[in-house]
């Protein structure tokens, strides 16, 4: 993976400032999302609108995951914890008092009496997540490779077990309901586009470039006096905030959340999406999410059993999990850089354009 | 077929970079051939290609068989042993265990043990430290261990990759003395050295390589010091 990610053409980088590359590249990368999104909003029935919303939320998580994993080269298995923190932040802060009296009447820190406007709740939640991310980021950045991965996993488990075993604040195993449903598909898509641009901006920024350099060759990066820890910390925090936004969107879209949603199932799925597309690029995150969202939906038809194309099938629980596992294993064996390869969409397009002009 | 080893058009590429292009080389049985050249000339790549750790193109004919597609392990079984560059002794193992792994391909355990005793007799210092961790040995001792370890497989061809690198002159002299002894015993040796003067004194024939190609080959005696300098600098 590491050899593939680190290839931006130096001539182009010299022509345009990085932030322009990031913004324009991000917008180009987001085109497929926008097109599919508009098509779904205009013509699809409600059921598919909801599916598209869930897929778009997953997209935000996958892009968030890419920001850390794709640039630092460290496998991150705890990103769903941040999504969970975002969602629970909204649940605790924005749920109407009437509902809270039912769900968490004994919340500590006087939170049982708090009901914020969703917009303010978003800001407070992101601030809290940022604090958590800065602290956990300090730990992660100090560790290298595998130890960092294991600690990211430990983080997931710690957060999950807090959700489960601190019922006064998180309502435990049962779903948290009554969160104001103020977000629809268009808003989620807009966030998706914004997040894609942010991820591209980070990737193209001097810091992002340096971080990718440390992933590829730590010794050489050391020799250039690149502070790998600080860079890893930055990307961890940014990644956390993006994942938390996905959680926030989920809470505001679905209205009910439970700890199970933000655990291994989601980690597996989003990870498989990123790997399928290619973790080195934001484009990979986008296409991996698109393809796997559609593919998984097709598989779920079989999974639940019933009558498909005139055949009566038994329910096949676990089929989608098998598919996810197979996607990861096959990608790693056959195409570790993912189906999109080492280049971003805009780089591929401009390359294709150049070839076209060349053949003329 | 008196050549024990013949390289025909050997090439080694690392991605887009070519380290060796079209190298031809022969070693007759019982010969000591030195492979000389400046840093980055492709000497170590050539050794890597012969051992099989580095993928290569062209033919590598050893003992009448093209081994160029064989895995590294199979080549050891056929009789090629190497004392690698930087010695690469197993630092976390004892001296005895290092020697034992050198004999891993052999079925005759008793003979291997007597070989071990013989090598220890040649390098008494190894005998003194036989149950010590090899990582605690000095550089010269580690080099001796690396050669002894290679000899444990009773090779037909011994590859010595930079045996003098980073060692004190006195120790270098001792190691070259030992190489001369090996040659006198009839072993075929391919010696890769930066220390050209020392190597030429020992070698029957010399190949000089620069930028991945042979720029000179012939009897060591005919290669005067001044020519060598020119060859090193690229004509």
């Amino acid at each position: 993976m590491s050899e593939a990610v680190f290839r931006t053409s130096p001539t182009r980088a010299r022509r345009r400032p990085w932030w322009l590359v990031g913004i324009s590249g991000g917008l180009v990368t987001a085109i497929p999302v926008v097109l599919i999104g508009i098509a779904v909003i205009l013509i699809a029935p409600t059921y598919y609108q909801n599916l598209a919303a869930t897929a778009a939320i997953n997209l935000v998580i996958v892009v968030g995951l890419q920001v850390f994993m794709g640039n630092s080269g460290i496998a991150h298995l705890g990103h769903s914890a941040f999504a969970g923190l975002g969602a629970y932040g909204m649940a605790i802060l924005a749920t109407p008092l009437m509902m809270k009296r039912l769900s968490i009447p004994n919340a500590p820190f006087g939170l049982a009496q708090v009901e914020l406007h969703p917009a303010i709740a978003v800001i407070v939640t992101l601030a809290v997540v940022a604090v958590v991310a800065v602290i956990s980021g300090r730990v992660i950045a100090r560790l290298s490779g595998i130890a960092a991965t294991i600690v990211s996993l430990a983080f997931l488990i710690v957060v999950h077990s807090m959700f489960l075993h601190w019922p006064a604040l998180f309502k435990g195993n049962q779903g948290f309901f009554g969160i104001p449903q103020v977000v629809g598909l268009p808003a989620i898509l807009a966030c998706g586009v914004a997040v894609i641009v942010i991820a591209r901006l980070f990737r193209e920024s001097p810091n992002g470039l340096q971080l990718r350099a440390t992933a590829q060759n730590p010794q050489a990066a050391d020799a250039l006096a690149i502070d790998a820890r600080a860079l890893r910390r930055q990307s961890w925090v940014l990644s956390a905030l993006i994942c938390a936004s996905a959680g926030i969107l989920y809470a505001l879209f679905a209205g009910t959340i439970s700890p199970r949603i933000f655990y291994f199932q989601q980690v597996f799925m989003t990870l498989a999406m990123l790997i399928l597309g290619g973790m080195g690029t934001v484009t990979g995150a986008v296409f991996g999410t698109l393809i796997l969202s559609i593919g998984l939906e097709a598989i779920r038809i079989f999974e639940s059993g019933g009558v498909v194309a005139g055949l009566t099938l038994p329910p096949m629980l676990g089929l989608s999990g098998v598919a996810l596992g197979a996607v990861i294993v096959l990608c790693m064996a056959l195409r570790p850089q993912g189906i999109c390869g080492p280049k971003e969409l805009d780089e591929m397009l401009s390359g294709a354009l150049r070839r076209l002009r060349g053949t003329k | 077929m008196s050549d024990l080893l013949r390289l025909e058009g050997l090439t080694v590429n690392y991605g887009p970079v070519t380290a060796v292009h079209g190298l031809d080389l022969t070693i007759a049985a019982g010969e000591l051939v030195a492979l000389l050249g400046p840093n980055g000339a492709g000497k170590s790549s050539t050794i890597g290609a012969i051992t099989g750790l580095v993928r290569s193109g062209g033919k590598i004919i050893f003992d009448g068989v093209d081994i160029s597609r064989m895995p590294a392990e199979a080549r050891v079984e056929r009789g090629i042993a190497v004392s690698p560059e930087g010695r690469r002794i197993f630092a976390n193992l004892t001296v005895a265990e290092n020697l034992r792994l050198g004999a891993a391909t052999r079925k005759d355990a008793a003979a291997a043990r007597s070989d071990m005793d013989r090598h220890i007799a040649l390098f008494p210092v190894l005998g003194e430290r036989i149950s010590q961790q090899a990582g605690t040995l000095s550089g010269g001792e580690q080099q001796m261990l690396a050669i002894a370890r290679a000899l444990m497989s009773r090779p037909k061809l011994l590859l010595l990759d930079e045996p003098s690198l980073g060692l004190a002159p006195m120790i270098v002299a001792r190691i070259f003395e030992f190489i001369a002894q090996l040659k006198a015993d009839g072993l075929t040796v391919l010696l890769v050295e930066q220390n050209a003067v020392q190597a030429m004194r020992l070698a029957d024939r010399v190949y000089v390589v620069a930028t991945g190609q042979v720029t000179y080959s012939g009897p060591a005696a005919e290669l005067a010091g001044s020519d060598l300098m020119a060859l090193y600098m690229g004509n």
Partner: protein, 299 residues
Amino acid sequence: MEYFVQQLVNALAFGSEYALVALGLAVVFSIMGLVNFAHGEVIGAIAYSLLLTASVGLSSPFLAVVLAVLAGIAVSVALERVAFRPVRNAPTTTGLLTAFGVSILLQNMFQLLISPRPQAFSLFNGMSTTWHLGPYSVSSLQVMEFVVAAISMAALVLFLNRSTLGVAMRAASRDFSTVRLMGIRANRVIAAAFAISGALAGIACVFILARRGGVAPDMGFGLVLKAFVACVIGGFGSLIGAAAGGMLLGFIEVGLLAALPQEMGGLKEAFTYVIVTLILLYKPEGLFGTRRELGDKEF
């Protein structure tokens, strides 16, 4: 005192279980730098094969133990051949993610082919009785667990120090390519590592089944996460570290269980992981690790 002895035996038993699983991970990691997330599913596969053979009439616990070890070796070696060989020389992250994928795949296969629900398994129930050692009564299972784990580790140490293959494995943990230059086949060394890992999984599986009396698709996954933690505390790739880390983890858990008030018992996991993270902050390379062993393998 009674209470203390019981807790001590408890901790030793838990620690032994973690140590067995952690050793299985560390053996493979030290040789080929693979973080084998699928180790838990090896345990799962063993359990399901015991379940299947029991359903067709296997009734001897002794035979079942032998079968467990053999099944472990077979599954583990087969996984290496099918899934891990293609990524053998890839970066550590690639191997880690592959193993993660294999783990998800197998877990869901168990669900799909057998059942998402736990299945009862009673063959080993006889192993659990109460022994009276002097004034103390202890669980036979726990004592056996500790003793068997200690014997297996001793056997492993013996193998690594006495046999040529074992010595080669120790050498390969530092410098794989030079081991190949000794004429020792890479595939043999790696297969041996996976076989040992599988055998340890088989032993661990017997105790897990005896303790839980049932089989579930995710039975190995949680355990392997803990074993990872044990490896990381001990220093990834160090065998002594894995064993010590496993034991330490057992003591931390039992200690927390004894120390935490009843209503916070559910947070045991969380506290365990927090303690572990603190240990790592203090010693990022683990207790027995060197910097090099932390995933940056030289080849």
